[in-house]
Amino acid sequence: MYKMIEAVINGIKVEVKEGTTILEAAKKVQIKIPTLCKHQDLPPSAACGLCIVKIKGSNKMFRACCTPLEEKMEIVTNDPDIVAVRRTVLELILSNHPNDCLTCARNNNCELQKLAADFGISEEHFKKFLRQIPKDSSTGVIELQPEKCILCGRCIYVCQQDQDVWALSFLERGMGTRISPAGDINMGESPCVKCGQCSAHCPTGAIVEKDDTERVWAALRDSEKHCVVQIAPAVRVAIGEAFGVTGANFTNKLYALFRRMGFKAVFDTNFAADVCIMEEASEFVERFAHKKGPLPLITSCCPAWVDFMEKFHPDMIEHFSSTKSPHEILGTLTKTYYTEKHNIDPKKIFGVSIMPCTAKKYEITRSGEMFASGLQDIDVVITTRELARMIKQSGIDFLNLPDEECDHMLGDYTGAGVIFGATGGVMEAALRTAYHFVTGKEAEKVEFKTTRGLKGVKESEINIAGTKVRIAVAHGLSHVEEVINKIREAKKKGEELPYHFVEVMACPGGCVGGGGQPYMVCDELRKERTAAIYQDDDDRVLRVSHKNPYVKRLYADYIGNPLGDKAHKLFHTEYKSRPQYTR
């Protein structure tokens, strides 16, 4: 049992678990304490100095974000004195921040801007001074504008601790402190894997995704172009947040939206996820049941993970599934299968992927196999956040749109396809089909719940026709290291490998927590988004990929067998060790 603490905040009695901070405790009694550096998802960094409160008996002010509540404490969170200090601190921060709000990617969506508005700051009392640090767009995915950085440290924490990438760091000190890759190289030369968690956690416009919405609008305006679109599973359950709705699934409204925006075909990445499972489950069965190829098989549909592996763990290449990620498969299919069947010149196709992910922007040109159709398979990737902006620009009342259907040929999906969006989903989907491939029967229960949930590494044993399959699901790159090391250790010692099948997603929570998703992600939101995804799975009649009739037709009409020649050409890729980066 936890020890409970009783204290008083602004005269209101509060009872919380021992260790609860003043900030959290205040929230419980409907008191909001402003902060710029504390993010719900992260431990406090105590950098901004805005969340100060008074504790009776001390003439100091304390940071609510990191001061634990103690028995009988009497706290004042807002009095004229505190508000005055907060105002001064806020003005100080603003004096070191450009007034570019109108032309900033975070306009109207910026935590600093919002606080400045709350405090009604209408005059600058302190002389403006800016740090002259150039913008860094070298990754082509993540844009760093250190000038706008308030040094809250969130990006550093996610990059170093959550993701274990160490692309970003604090350099120098005092007024010279800045965020930068180590040793003044640019982001493109750094170990950055483009997961985008930094951009998703940044309170200001200091780190943003590269905005490709203009390219989409341009293509939509171009009458020569045949624009097709696909959405990833995690997008549909998060886009609502940009319009104030959480935990809802907007699949059918999104279909309607895309048509109104001018897309000629509306597909769904979930369909390709079903295809992906056909290939990946086949790979697994080949290696597991027919002993062709090394185990464990490791999933490869997360591009940040692929980049991470190529940079830091190239010895794992042989374990990687060669199946391309779903949106790439769909991209290839639109420029081959779809154009052939509809007699369209593939060159006219402009394929847009709407992803919860920033690394997908990098993936579309990662290697030669991303041009399997003979053209670049996907032309542009935009993130959920960019889509939200496009919706607002389009003037469409998104929440009140009628529901529509997708274009079935490359759109209809099963429950297995949609759960790709959450950690453990790919594994679960693959197991559903692998069970069938191995046994020839359908599993009685399609749910493999041991793969679900937000625990960093989920290990379990699955019984497939009397054979135990040892699996591991890891999300958040810092947890991946654990799994990889176990495999490596066992290999080195010549012992039996600890797993047969491993799923890895770079972002905590999987794609629902992706770096391109709406701001303010935290476990609560990750759970809501995940629940919406599993609800979709639950609601489906078909819940295994191999039963998707359109997938069956695709293989029958066009591809042949999974892992066959054509499948190999269109759906598979290769990996290579990237020049050894030092984290």
Binding site: P44, S45, A46, A47, C48, G49, L50, I52, K60, M61, R63, C66, T67, P68, V85, R86, T88, V89, L92, I93, S95, N96, H125, F126, K127, F129, I150, L151, G153, F170, E172, R173, G174, M175, G176, T177
Partner: protein
């Protein structure tokens, strides 16, 4: 009667002239037939100041001050010939200094553990381990002594130790903070260099008291000699079995290691220091948890500074009550000050708590560097401290009194300021230091300090407005309240305290565009005095901005707009014709 030596020093006598006096003294000695009985030695310094002619007669070791010509005869007859002391001339030779922490500095060879043991060293450790044989009893002695941390805040040492002692865990750490960063304070360096074993012994005793098995000495990398001497001390202590396994057969095992700082003032802050020992950026962490609960590598850790630890061995060997007899009700023992600035004898002084600032300045440190100038204030506590104006010089020095005056004890920097020093300039110096040394983590300190410095620059450049004073106060308040660590919370103190006592000086800069002390160069005006100018034209050639015009017939003038106040003209003028005002 043994041969007498008469040391003579003129300490600023008004009536007598030293040289004549020596002749008179010699003559009278000869006349009294005592020429063979005593020799006269004029000396450079005698440790007594502002007391006219001072004689010290050896080997009697009696000191006479304010000696006049008329006294010579009496001195020869009574003291030189008869060995009697003349009470009315006798100078109260009681040394205002009391050396506890610096006891061995200048006495022992720092590289010799034998010297230290001969001076009574390691007796404190012995008492702790072999007589008291109890962590609680050691802490009890500390409690009795009333020793408070000498690093700045003055937190009772025993309380810290007791907190750490009560933590139940497999590992605790003892850390010595030797990252003395206060510009102008160097007592820690002096102790580490002059009496390293005292620090080592203090560390072992502290380690025993809290239940640590490992100690780290964190020393500034800029102190290579201190590091060398501590290294040697550790080696020798280990060899003697005073460090390492089963110390003095007591069963207590303790190891120590040196870690170097790398030039970051903020690492004087406990949590920043811990981060630095861990090999990370020295950025402070929020407290709680306090290091005594969760410190180095998340284990309970105690950090004491060098001066505190150096006092510990003697507290143990002499008993806590011994120290408690020295000092004031709340501040026990002595404090070492590094006194510099416009003072005659800059150096380290160790004085009992409760002594007045006036005594320190005029009696211990020899008074002002230039006695013609007036003292304006004394700054204590370094960059986190404040100024104490001359009206408060009679305040007894202890933690509480300094606090009441808006300053602090700090690590013991003491700067004497005379009328030629500008308070705006001084505030700028200290604030500039803190801005340079801010770790950059928290916004109030990082940006607040910078903005205040800009405002001070504006004022000293003659561009200040009265509203700037309010802005300074507003930022200072926010920094005090909203900064994460001590550095930011106190960085504005020098500004606030100079503003409190010398607001007029600020206003002179702002309203009259004048620096009363003549220090702020943008408020100075260089002028060529017609009467002194010989029209040689050297100043014209040396002016980097061609601000001086004129010719040999008409004379030269300085264009105040073009002048960048570099002072070259004053320097090159042989006739002192260029004056600044």
């Amino acid at each position: 009667m043994p041969h007498k030596i008469i040391l003579v020093k003129d300490t600023g006598a008004v009536e007598n002239k030293g040289v004549d006096f020596n002749t008179m003294l010699a003559n009278q000695l000869r006349d009294s037939g005592a020429a063979e009985k005593a020799s006269i030695v004029p000396v450079a310094d005698i440790g007594v100041y502002d007391k006219g002619l001072v004689l010290r007669i050896l080997p009697d070791n009696v000191t006479y001050s304010n000696v006049r010509e008329a006294d010579i005869k009496k001195i020869i007859e009574q003291t030189v010939l008869a060995g009697k002391i003349i009470e009315e001339l006798s100078h109260d030779g009681r040394d205002k200094q009391l050396r506890i922490v610096l006891k061995n500095c200048g006495l022992v060879d720092p590289d010799s553990i034998d010297d230290y043991i001969r001076a009574g060293g390691y007796q404190g450790l012995r008492k702790a381990l072999l007589e008291l044989k109890s962590q609680d009893k050691v802490i009890e002695e500390l409690k009795k002594s009333g020793l408070r941390g000498r690093g700045g805040a003055g937190f009772p040492t025993w309380m810290k130790w007791s907190t750490a002692k009560n933590q139940k865990t497999d590992q605790k750490y003892m850390i010595c903070n030797g990252d003395e960063g206060d510009p102008g304070a160097y007592m820690d360096r002096s102790v580490l260099e002059g009496d390293p074993h005292a620090v080592v012994e203090g560390m072992i005793i502290a380690g025993y008291a809290i239940g640590a098995s490992k100690g780290y000495l964190y020393i500034r990398a800029e102190y290579p000699l201190a590091v060398k001497r501590i290294e040697k001390a550790l080696e020798d202590a280990r060899e003697y079995g005073l460090l390492g396994e089963n110390i003095l057969e007591s069963g207590f095992t303790y190891e120590m290691e040196i870690r170097l700082g790398a030039g970051a003032f903020v690492c004087g802050e406990e949590t920043a220091l811990i981060a630095s020992v861990e090999g990370k950026r020295g950025t402070p962490k929020p407290r709680p948890p306090f290091p005594a609960v969760k410190g180095l590598w998340d284990k309970p850790s105690i950090i004491n500074n060098v001066e505190t630890l150096a006092a510990v061995p003697q507290i143990l060997s002499n008993g806590g009550d011994w120290l408690a007899k020295i000092g004031t009700a709340t501040s026990k023992g002595t404090k070492v000050f590094a006194i510099t600035g416009k003072i005659k004898n800059s150096g380290l002084v160790e004085v009992p708590m409760g002594i007045t600032l006036r005594e320190i300045v005029f009696e211990v440190a020899g008074g002002l560097l230039n006695p013609e100038k007036k003292i304006k204030a004394v700054q204590t506590g370094g960059p986190s401290g404040g100024v104490i104006p001359k009206d408060f010089l009679d305040t007894p020095v202890d933690y509480e009194n300094l606090g009441k005056l808006g300053s602090i004890m700090g690590s013991g920097g003491m700067i004497v300021i005379d009328e030629t020093d500008c308070m705006v300039d001084l505030a700028k110096f200290y604030l500039g230091f803190c801005v340079d040394e801010s770790c950059g983590k928290c916004a109030p300190c990082r940006i607040g300090g910078y903005q205040m410095l800009q405002l001070l620059n504006k004022i000293s450049n003659g561009e200040g407005e009265l509203a700037d004073l309010d802005k300074l106060k507003r930022i200072a308040y926010a920094m005090q309240k909203a900064s994460l660590c001590g550095l930011g919370q106190t960085a504005a103190n020098p500004v606030l305290s100079t503003l409190k006592y010398f607001e007029d000086e600020y206003k002179a800069h702002i309203v009259n565009k004048k620096c009363p002390a003549g220090k702020c160069k943008y408020l100075l005006m260089y002028k060529i005095g017609e009467d002194k100018c010989k029209r040689c034209g050297v100043c014209v050639k040396n002016c980097p901005t061609q601000a001086i015009s004129g010719n040999r017939e008409k004379g030269f003038t300085i264009d105040q707009v073009k002048c960048i106040k570099c002072g070259n003209c004053t320097e090159v003028c042989k006739f002192e014709a260029v004056a600044k005002e």
